[in-house]
């Protein structure tokens, strides 16, 4: 893994990436400056051997998460995971029945030397999809840099919808229409474009795709079923809206009750994703695999805050249900080194060993990348890299494309 600083800069790239869907490229940073989220020019390069090693690690991490889910369900560890009691019956049901699940993203620390290590699993509402699947693929094709790119996202998303929807159709005898929902509270365009892109993959799988915002989802308090504003039943709805928020909403109990009934709405991602999207997954994985010589190397030691060794004085503290780095703190020798603001944490914290992100420094300063490794329908599917100047990857990080086996042009 290496960072190439002076790659091709496409003329008119900013308008081009916006037209392709990255409408949220311009980011206003504190202080008012507007900067580009997409980095045009620099990119990361991997050898094919490295990518295949990373693929293998991602496949193993996914299997480990499946085992961790089994462990939580079998041993009734929902209290420890701070998973709301009302969600537990339906989590158990969906864990067993495996309703449609499309995608997820592992965030990995990787320095190009040692094994990749899991930072967290964005299993419920991962974003960064448009830039990973579309923007960097088009960049790779246009610039011709690199022999390849770890990016089978589009093919695998279409295949995932096909497999899951055909299975759903056979089970119910109904050809489903697929609603895809985002929250109108998100105004940058990111969630809406993520949904629009997923609609493309649904359509290419041969099914009808309908966009809506979650605020317009209608509950019929006569039959207890869910509809869109035009009165069409929600057969299957992809929601870019986290389960922990949905459960706190007024309709939360009705969503769970309806989805448990025959003919009820199928929600994608399924509610069992709460087992993985909480940071409580990290100490469970460490407990199960931390001492395994092959699998433990993909993990950083992690504990529930009240179970951490008293000798631990350097760690990262993460709220169980935090997002985008909010309320994450880096503690070194008992001192808070860095902390992002936010309103999470009342539900508890996990502590994870502090393993500083590698620095692929350039002339413009430090660059700390996090590898976002995509999983589609349970299989490794591609890579998106975000890098930050600081050690916490937040919603002000940059997206940097990547290649495989780049050969610099001869002078």
């Amino acid at each position: 893994m290496r960072r190439i600083e002076s790659g091709v800069v496409r003329p008119g790239w900013e308008a081009e990436i916006e037209a392709q869907g990255l409408v949220y490229n311009k980011t206003q940073v504190p202080g008012g400056e507007v900067r580009s989220y997409w980095r045009e020019g620099p990119f990361y390069d991997f050898s094919m051997d490295e990518v295949q090693m990373l693929e293998g690690a991602v496949a193993q991490l996914f299997e480990m998460c499946v085992a961790a889910g089994d462990h939580v369900v079998d041993n009734d560890l929902f209290d420890r995971m701070r998973i709301p009691p009302m969600a537990r019956p339906q989590i158990r049901r969906t864990w067993e029945s495996e309703p449609p699940s499309i995608y997820a993203r592992f965030d990995l620390r990787y320095d190009g030397q040692g094994p990749p290590q899991l930072l967290e699993f964005n299993a419920d509402t991962p974003t960064g999809l448009v830039e990973s699947a579309v923007t960097q693929w088009n960049w790779h094709l246009f610039t011709g840099q690199g022999r390849d790119q770890w990016n089978a996202l589009h093919d695998k998303l279409v295949a995932a919808w096909t497999r899951n929807l055909v299975k759903w159709e056979r089970r119910t005898g109904v050809r489903p229409r697929v609603h895809l929902a985002w929250t109108s509270e998100e105004t940058s365009g990111e969630d809406r474009m993520t949904v629009a892109y997923l609609m493309d993959t649904v359509v290419q799988a041969g099914y009808e795709a309908i966009e809506l915002v979650v605020e317009d989802i209608v509950l019929d308090d006569g039959d207890g079923r869910f509809y869109d504003a035009q009165g069409r039943h929600l057969d299957l709805v992809f929601k870019l809206y986290p389960w922990e928020w949905l459960l706190e909403d007024e309709f939360g109990p009705a969503v769970l009750a309806d989805s448990a009934r025959p003919g009820g709405t199928t929600w994608v991602e399924p509610v069992y994703k709460m087992l993985w999207s909480t940071k409580a997954l990290l100490p469970v994985l460490w407990q199960l695999f931390g001492t395994d010589p092959a699998l433990g190397r993909y993990l950083l030691p992690a504990y529930f805050a009240d179970e951490a060794p008293t000798s631990w004085r350097s760690y990262v503290r993460k709220p169980l249900w935090g997002r985008e780095g909010a309320n994450v703190a880096i503690v070194r020798e008992g001192e808070v080194l860095a902390e992002l603001p936010g309103r999470y944490g009342t539900e508890g914290y996990v502590l994870q060993e502090f393993a500083p992100l590698p620095d692929f420094a350039g002339v413009d300063g430090p660059h700390h990348p996090v590898l976002g490794a995509w999983v589609v329908d349970g299989e490794p599917a591609g890579l998106g890299i975000r890098e930050s100047d600081g050690l916490i990857t937040d919603n002000l990080s940059y997206f940097v494309p990547h290649t495989i086996d780049y050969q610099p042009p001869r002078a």
């Binding site: 916006e18 037209a19 392709q20 869907g21 990255l22 409408v23 295949q52 964005n122 509402t125 991962p126 960064g128 448009v130 579309v134 693929w137 094709l141 390849d148 089978a152 589009h154 093919d155 985002w182 929250t183 109108s184 509270e185 998100e186 990111e190 969630d191 809406r192 474009m193 629009a196 892109y197 609609m199 493309d200 290419q204 966009e211 809506l212 915002v213 979650v214 605020e215 317009d216 989802i217 209608v218 509950l219 308090d221 509809y227 504003a229 870019l240 809206y241 928020w245 909403d249 007024e250 009705a254 969503v255 997002r323 985008e324 909010a326 936010g342 309103r343 999470y344 591609g382 919603n395």
Partner: protein, 131 residues
């Protein structure tokens, strides 16, 4: 094993490209198409009463009104209806129709409602819904 898309060509992303064009042009497709309207029957003091009192065929005594507006669904009989909404004489069939209600008969309070998802937890948390 291949690690990239089978066809090395630009992806067909018609929905995404259309949405992007609309977004950049400032169009807000998918935005609020109007608040869900919910009807209640009240007495002269604004207290919610049984729907039967606002059936236009009701012949008993008392003064009753239909109120339609962006009320919460499921408000119980006996509770005071919050202020707001439009007051309609239950026997005025033209006014009922203008408000989107059946011209005659009983009006059942709020059978379908929206707005029960996305009630602001995300906004309170200060982060987006994605991760």
């Amino acid at each position: 094993m291949a690690v990239s898309n089978r066809i090395r060509a630009a992806l067909t992303t018609t929905v995404l490209a259309t949405a992007a064009t609309g977004f950049m042009a400032g169009c807000g497709a998918g935005e609020d198409e109007g608040e869900e309207q919910v009807a209640y029957c009240t007495d002269a003091d604004g207290n919610i009463v049984d729907d039967d009192y606002c059936d236009d065929s009701y012949n008993g005594g008392g003064l009753f009104f239909l109120y339609i507006g962006g009320f919460r669904s499921g408000l119980p009989v006996g509770s005071r209806l919050p202020s707001g909404g439009t007051r309609i004489d239950p026997r005025d069939s033209a006014a009922r129709q203008r408000a989107g209600l059946p011209a005659s008969g009983k009006v059942t309070g709020g059978t379908r409602v929206s707005g029960g998802i996305g009630s602001g937890v995300g906004g309170r948390a200060g982060t987006g819904a994605g991760s």
